[in-house]
């Protein structure tokens, strides 16, 4: 803008200067011409008067001082010439314009240019009384000549004028632009200077206010988003197209072993060198969505890496990490459980199928049929027991919500179970003792019965012949304590933590021989949990085991 203003001022000054130069020159020239002509006329009148009085001798006594005086006869012959030229040899002047005019009117004037155009001649003729003509002539520089003579000073003046106008134009343009440069756009309304700009300033102010509001809103939204992203437990990473971190939340930064602040702008590989994670990122950055489970800091994480597409192709990638350790563990437990169930079911079914096949083919001797049938019966009972256990377990897994809680007497159930198991106890040579008194609690009868049954059944099965099983019920304030102790084989310390797991058996061969399913204690554990109770196990291998269940009465 400064440049443009400078240029305009400069050009205008130049044009004005040149035009006035030419005009002044012309006016002056015309004026000088007029003055010269007047003087010439005056001189011509004087000379004519002189010659009339004193004759040609007057001319001789006259100092021409710049004028050329010529005396011409009526026929055009030159009688006298004041310049160096010889009057006799001069041509006839009759045809000259001023002479002709003087002959006719008594006065004549003319102007002629020299051949080079550098000089101009002014002529003024007067007719004397005797008919002769006296002519005065003045040579004068032409405009061109004057111009050429003055060329050097003119150029100097021009150069000076150019410099001056440049200087002034520069200053002026700067001064015009200065208020514009000094405009404070942050506070548009505080500006002084050009009134013409005030609508613009008002508009800017309005837009600035709007912009500030929008920015604030955006910031709020961003910080809101940051807070949300920062506090969720899932890891979130956004990558630019060249793989640099645009945004990473706290969870992801912690997981990759860096801090939220350090990670910005770096590539993931600079922070963490997990080959699977890197592969997932590379795939996402090449435009392929992919998912996998990776191990970071000995926990499992599901990685979802997806490309972010923009208008011009790939814009980046979004990586989400969530902890699936528990899920993976649960998954592997489920897999283990179903593998175990099929394995446990297979064993009795194989036995049943084997014996039945022999009997079907008629290769069994008459006397063996009954023992075979007994074996088939026993194995099928085991299979049934197993299926029942699994059903009650899965029922317990679902929380046993559909089972009604009622007031019941724990001791009564213990008594009843002892009676039911007394046959078995007798066969094993184990003495069954019940202790305690009537103790009421609210619970699910079927589950309480299952707890007592399983505990007592185990105590009988894993006992020595001649051993003892003591089941006692006590009331402890708000709680019921049920304890079953035996004098059996006991549980090694290493296994004590695990006996409540499904299908966990301390001694597999022994357990199978006595018809255990490996689910009994697991069922007990779940049933107690449903009653919000707890289980304690005390055992010394070779001496016996005591399992104590404590449940609230309500």
């Amino acid at each position: 803008m400064t440049k443009k203003i400078f240029k305009s001022i400069f050009v205008a000054a130049m044009v004005v200067m040149l035009v006035s130069f030419v005009l002044i020159f012309g006016v002056l020239y015309i004026y000088v011409n007029k003055v010269s002509m007047n003087q010439l006329r005056m001189q011509a009148d004087l000379a004519a008067a002189g010659v009339e009085q004193s004759g040609i001798a007057y001319l001789d006594s006259l100092d021409p001082s710049g004028y050329r005086i010529t005396l011409i006869e009526q026929d055009g012959t030159v009688l006298y010439e004041s310049s160096d030229a010889d009057a006799d040899k001069m041509e006839n002047h009759l045809e000259r314009e001023e002479v002709q005019e003087a002959l006719k009117t008594g006065e004549g004037e003319a102007q002629r240019f020299s051949r080079t155009l550098l000089e101009r001649y002014l002529y003024c003729a007067r007719k004397l009384g005797n008919g002769n003509i006296i002519r005065l002539s003045l040579s004068q520089y032409t405009a061109l000549r004057i111009f050429l003579t003055l060329l050097v000073p003119l150029i100097l003046i021009c150069i000076f004028a150019i410099f001056l106008s440049m200087l002034l134009a520069g200053r002026l343009s700067r001064r015009i632009v200065k208020p514009l440069n000094d405009v404070d756009l942050d506070h548009p309304l505080d500006n002084e200077g050009y009134d013409e700009l005030s609508p613009l300033f008002k508009r800017i102010n309005q837009q600035q206010t709007e912009l500030n509001e929008q920015e604030l809103e955006l910031e709020n939204k961003q910080s809101e988003l940051d807070t949300i992203l920062g506090n969720i437990s899932e890891g979130m990473i956004l990558l630019s197209a060249d793989g640099r971190i645009v945004s990473i939340n706290n969870a992801a930064a912690r997981l990759l072993g860096t801090s939220h602040k350090d990670a910005g702008g770096r590539k993931i590989i600079m922070i963490n060198r997990n080959i699977e994670l890197q592969d997932a990122i590379d795939r996402a950055l090449s435009g392929r969505k992919n998912e996998r489970v990776i191990t970071l800091k000995s926990r499992q994480y599901q990685v979802n890496a997806s490309p972010v597409a923009g208008e011009n192709g790939l814009r980046g990638a979004a990586i989400v990490l969530f902890d699936v350790t528990d899920k993976e563990q649960a998954e592997s437990m489920r897999r283990e459980f179903s593998a175990n169930v099929s394995h446990e079911l297979k064993t009795p079914l194989h036995a049943i199928s084997g014996y039945a096949e022999l009997m079907k083919d008629g290769v069994v001797r008459e006397g063996d049929v009954v023992p075979f049938a007994q074996k088939i019966y026993k194995e099928s009972q085991r299979a049934i027991q197993l299926v029942e256990d699994i059903i009650s377990l899965s029922h317990l897994d679902e929380g046993a919500d559909d089972m009604a809680r009622v007031k019941l007497d724990v001791y009564k159930i213990v008594k009843a179970e002892a009676e039911r198991l007394c046959g078995e106890a007798e066969r094993a040579g184990v003495q069954l003792i019940t202790e305690g008194e009537k103790t009421k609690m609210t619970g699910i009868p079927a589950l309480i019965q299952q707890i007592i049954h399983n505990l007592m059944d185990n105590a009988i099965k894993y006992n020595h012949a001649g051993g003892k099983v003591t089941a006692s019920v006590r009331s402890l304030g708000d709680e019921v304590e049920l304890s079953v102790s035996d004098t059996g084989i006991g549980i090694p310390e290493a296994d004590q933590q695990r006996v409540f797991e499904r299908f966990y058996r301390v001694d597999k061969s022994h357990s199978r021989a006595i018809g255990g399913t490996g689910l009994g204690l697991s069922i007990v554990k779940h049933a107690v949990q449903i009653h919000h109770g707890r289980i304690a196990l005390q055992s010394t291998p070779g001496e016996g085991t005591t399992i104590t269940v404590t449940m609230p009465k309500k």
Partner: protein
Amino acid sequence: MRSNLDKQLDTLNQEMIRMGMLCETAISMSSDAVLRHDAAEAKKLPDLLEQIHDKDKQIESVCLMIILQQQPVASDLRLVSSALKMVTDMDRIGVQSNDIAEIVTMKGIEGPIDRSIPVREMADAVIHMVTAAVDAFVKRDDNMAHSVVKYDDKVDSCFDRVKEKLAEVLKRTDSVTGRDPETGLDAVAVLDILMITKYLERIGDHAVNIARWVIFSITGIDEKHEGRIT
């Protein structure tokens, strides 16, 4: 032109880290294969080794390209020249990890190695060294690189203990069963374990080399030759 150099150096850096990552994975997978006696894990090594070889070639060509096109000077030159040396060591780490895995697949060792022989301790130490060497490169941390150099003593002493223990095993070996009653190892397994630990010890040395080149690329001092090169 210069920004082009920066770009190329960045690429070199990324590729170096990637190769380091592959090496870390290789050594931890092969030591996993040994310690858990997992032949399936061991069979993944050749694939990884191939990737390491490819990276080696790729990085070498990137380095030569930078030297030819950009004529780097000072720290840039140090980075490029040490990268050229480092990839050789990284490549060897890959090869030796693969050798360890091969021993596992040959089944000379019949099960997880008895705890009395400090193979796990040694493997952990070596993995730590490789990881720390790559970390030192990533973070441009010469202190970390120095600690890697020092850590090698631990690996060496581990190796000595392994040798002693294996000698004891051989002395105890029952002439009838051909096995040591305490650890259940036979002579073939003893030799295999010796080979594995020797490879681990070599990998430790390569990690030390990498660390030394990291120090050189940062400070310009080559510790092995105890002199300043540039």
